[in-house]
């Protein structure tokens, strides 16, 4: 060092100082935005800041137990519905079928989770005759009523049971429920929501961005 020319030394110190300024600027950026990474232009509504996905556990249509956290490493699409739902729920499942078709081989990194809001009628057996008809890779969860309430609250999902017709079949009622699609990333963070009328082609690019992220992110 002592052998170096004075002007070189000066330049070195300037470089160090500039690097320091750059580091300060980067830190300012990180502090300001929470993340240095630019936010993608999502089609869905971003959950900001991302929050850990609520716990979700139940029995899948094939009798296996299911836990949402057991699927860390996969992107998860969670939505609520019931098998007697005549209009919206089948459309939601058909959209999921379009979505996984669009993902092709990457579909194995995505878990589609249909949560029944009607555990009294949607037994595991009933779900087994419904959900795999769309795609056997889809999960269809039966959750006991006392547990379902807490899970729905955690997701911000409302469930209201209609009244059966007077003097008619007591097993015939409608269920009002939140139709939001909840998107959970590989690391288990709730990242996006989509309204019930979103299309598969709107969801696909967002899912692809999340699939490109590191699971440990």
């Amino acid at each position: 060092m002592t052998m170096r020319h004075a002007s070189t030394d000066h330049l070195d110190r300037l470089t160090v100082r500039l690097a320091g300024v750059a580091a300060t600027l980067s830190l300012a950026c990180v502090l300001a935005c929470g993340s240095a990474a630019p936010q993608p232009a999502w089609n869905g509504a971003a959950v900001e800041p991302p929050t850990p996905a609520p716990a979700l556990a139940g029995t899948n249509w094939n009798g296996d137990s299911f836990g949402l956290a057991d699927h860390d490493g996969q992107v998860r699409v969670v939505f609520f519905g019931y098998t007697y739902c005549p209009d919206i729920c089948p459309m939601a499942l058909a959209k999921m079928k379009q979505l996984v078709a669009g993902l092709d081989a990457r579909a194995e990194d995505v878990a589609v989770v249909f949560v029944s809001v009607d555990p009294n009628r949607d037994t595991v057996d009933k779900l087994s005759r419904y959900v795999p008809g769309f795609d056997p890779r889809f999960y269809g969860l039966h959750i006991e009523p006392n547990e379902l309430d807490a899970i729905a609250d955690d997701f911000g999902v409302t469930i209201r049971y209609g009244r059966p017709p007077d003097g008619g079949d007591g097993n015939r009622y409608l269920v009002d429920h939140t139709g939001t699609f909840f998107i959970v990333d590989r690391a288990g963070q709730l990242r996006l929501t989509f309204p019930p009328n979103a299309t598969a082609s709107e969801m696909l690019p967002d899912i692809e961005i999340l699939l490109a992220e590191d699971a440990a992110a």
Binding site: C33, E48, P86, L93, T158, G162, D176, P196
Partner: protein, 207 residues
């Protein structure tokens, strides 16, 4: 299917790459992006407070179905009844539920009303409408039927007005069932409605 995401209601809630730009602007305004958090949703029920990750929903939005499932009004009708044209009747049949979709064009100068739909292969068909209310999917029963304005049309389509078919019992191996539509003035017309999967319905229900 629509790929025009900008026209979609969800586009209103899109949060652009503002953070990226703000990274540069952060020098000037360190406050940057932290104010972009969505406002907490309004309470959905008296005792319910939505978590703040639930995006706000406009109350009572109709729940428009996918564009691909919409029937062009100039499509050749499968049947005509006076001034009414019946377009693309179809039934979505699932193990536990079934729905009737059809479009009716009123070419007349008088208002008309669809008062009832029925089928020998179903216990009952109720006229319903799916709507989004406070973020929840609701079904509204239209016991008085659906009005067709003069020169207007009625579209029973996924995510909106539809016939909820109760106890659909199509004959073994049937590919379609008979549906009778009853109108206040024009009377009854019976059409053959193909039985379809949800995916076929979502993709337009053409046969």
């Amino acid at each position: 299917m629509s790929t025009d995401a900008a026209a979609h209601p969800s586009a209103r809630r899109r949060r652009g790459p503002a953070c990226c730009a703000a990274a540069f602007l952060a020098l000037i305004a360190l406050a940057g992006c932290s104010s972009r958090q969505p406002a907490a949703d309004e309470a959905l029920a008296d005792d319910f407070v939505a978590p703040d990750f639930l995006a706000p929903e406009t109350a009572d939005q109709p729940a428009p179905g996918p564009e691909a499932a919409r029937v062009p009004l100039d499509e050749p009708p499968v049947a005509e009844l006076g001034e009414l044209a019946i377009l693309r009747p179809r039934v979505m049949l699932l193990p536990t539920s079934a729905a009737l979709y059809v479009t009716v064009v009123n070419r007349g100068a008088a208002a008309e009303r669809l008062v009832r739909a029925a089928s020998p292969s179903a216990a009952l068909i109720e006229l319903h409408e799916s709507v989004v209310q406070d973020g929840a999917m609701r079904m509204i029963a239209h016991d008085d039927g659906f009005v067709l304005a003069p020169g207007g049309h009625l579209a029973l389509e996924p995510g909106g007005k539809h016939g909820m078919i109760i106890e659909a019992r199509p004959p073994e191996g049937a590919e379609s069932i008979a549906i009778t539509l009853s109108f206040e003035h024009a009377g009854d017309v019976t059409v053959d409605a193909p039985l379809m999967t949800a995916s076929e319905i979502l993709e337009g229900g053409r046969r």
